[in-house]
Subunit: 264 residues, 2 copies
DNA sequence: ATATGCATGTCGCAC
DNA sequence: GTGCGACGTGCATAT
């Protein structure tokens, strides 16, 4: 039998019965399965797909998410999200991996007619993942320094960290008007204009007679956005996610920038 | 040196210099690279991310798409879409994989402090992938049999296979009204209502005075959609992608259904 | 090249 | 559980 305590345990692909049994056990132990070989795949669920035979990589993760990868493209050709029920069997001398998800009911069947490599991975990953420059970071930056949107802007309930309803930021401008801000980390498009126009209308209904201003804050705007925004009375204020990071955490690359300037 | 003509070539992780050189060569030869080990990762581009050390799977595909997978979750924790420039180097006894994408400029750096397994995969995949029950299939089914939406409905320019502008299907109802149909393969939601309302308004402007009907065709509708649709004058017609497949290709499971009925 | 909308989108969060 | 919106969304397609 294979050595334990190893991060990677390679199995003998020719002993199919052993492969099936060992993979099944490893799956229950929360290991990650890796199969490289020639397979076909069929999926039935929200849609339906067929994939004829070719060389692929199958990964079954410890949370029972399943990925079938072709040698090209970023996205898996077939997959199953976490939590699916995975069953491994032998049918007509092929290794068959059947992955079933409930709600919605979806089935993915991968049939290996040939296996090149099969491995059990015992991966430990307690690493921390941090992502910066999200829309939430932009919101925080605006709350910290509302003047980047407009001089004299005062956010309502600044102390409340969560968004009010579906509105990213609600504020009062220097003339006392209510302002609704919709933040986009990418170019403002038609959808952003429609979304904000709806919020503005909802808020006008709730607040009564007063006019409510709508501002989309985004790094840039598409031409169609500008057209639609004009007709809907929506305003636009350019602001990039990176600028927001500078506001939140200070200008990190100050030193390097200075160095660059010195060199050039 | 390792055997050629093999689908999977395992390298000796302890010989880092050889790993670096062999991976670099394999990359140029259009092979797929697989590295399993402990690594950290940093990304800078549209956003910024940091990932501290843990066990992961790195796949560099032949189209230079890059996937860094943790032992859990469907999505890669870090990645690069196809076409990025991949560079492999040794820094302070670590294997460093640097992936740069232009437009937008984005950089992903994965640093392996320990390698458990490193392999070069020579995968051949000419398999065909077919997907059914897309929104396009639903459109075809409606054009083939408009009565599933409404009795007496006549699609405009049925012979034209592509959608007209942003409107999925344009038709005339039995009373001569213009009908705009928006198809969704999932539940109709707020966005669908707003989108269609905009199309209807645009079309009314172009066509002149006449009232234009808007119908969302989808397997189901959210409560909020129904509310908004009512206030926007948008209609809803339930239709599932699967029903559309039956209309397009005939009722495939007829025989089994009959069998089920016979048994029960 | 840019913009627009689909996707077996997935994912997380609020209700 | 459902609904809603973000995502480093990716991706094809039309302009």
């Amino acid at each position: 039998m294979e050595a334990k305590l190893e991060k990677v345990t390679l199995l003998d692909p020719s002993n199919l019965e052993n492969v099936k049994n060992t993979l099944g056990k490893a799956l229950n132990d929360g290991k990650v399965l890796l199969i490289i070989g020639a397979c076909s795949a069929d999926y039935i669920g929200r849609a339906r797909s067929e994939l004829t035979i070719g060389d692929r990589i199958l990964i079954v993760k410890s949370d029972r998410s399943v990925l079938l990868h072709r040698p090209k493209s970023y996205k898996p050709v077939n997959w199953q999200p976490p939590g699916s029920i995975v069953n491994i069997s032998i049918e007509e001398n092929d290794l068959v991996v059947k992955c079933v998800r409930e709600k919605p009911r979806e089935t993915l069947i991968v049939r290996f007619i040939e296996i090149y490599t099969v491995a059990i991975l015992d991966l430990e990953d307690e690493g921390e993942f941090s992502l910066y420059a999200s829309e939430e970071d932009m919101r925080k930056a605006i709350l910290k320094n509302p003047a980047i949107v407009e001089e004299g802007l005062k956010p309502v309930s600044l102390e409340r960290p969560v968004r009010s309803g579906f509105i990213d930021v609600e504020a009062i401008d220097k003339n006392g008007n209510i302002v609704v801000i919709e933040i986009k980390r990418r170019a403002a498009d038609v959808d952003a204009a429609l979304q904000l126009a709806r919020y503005v209308r909802d808020l006008e209904k709730v607040r009564g007679i007063g006019k409510v201003r709508g501002i989309v804050v985004a790094p840039r705007a598409t031409a169609e956005f500008r057209r639609l925004a004009r007709s809907l009375g929506i305003e636009f204020k350019p602001l990039s996610p990176k600028r927001c990071l500078e506001i939140l955490y200070g200008v990190k690359e100050k030193k390097e920038t200075t160095l660059d300037e010195f060199i050039s």
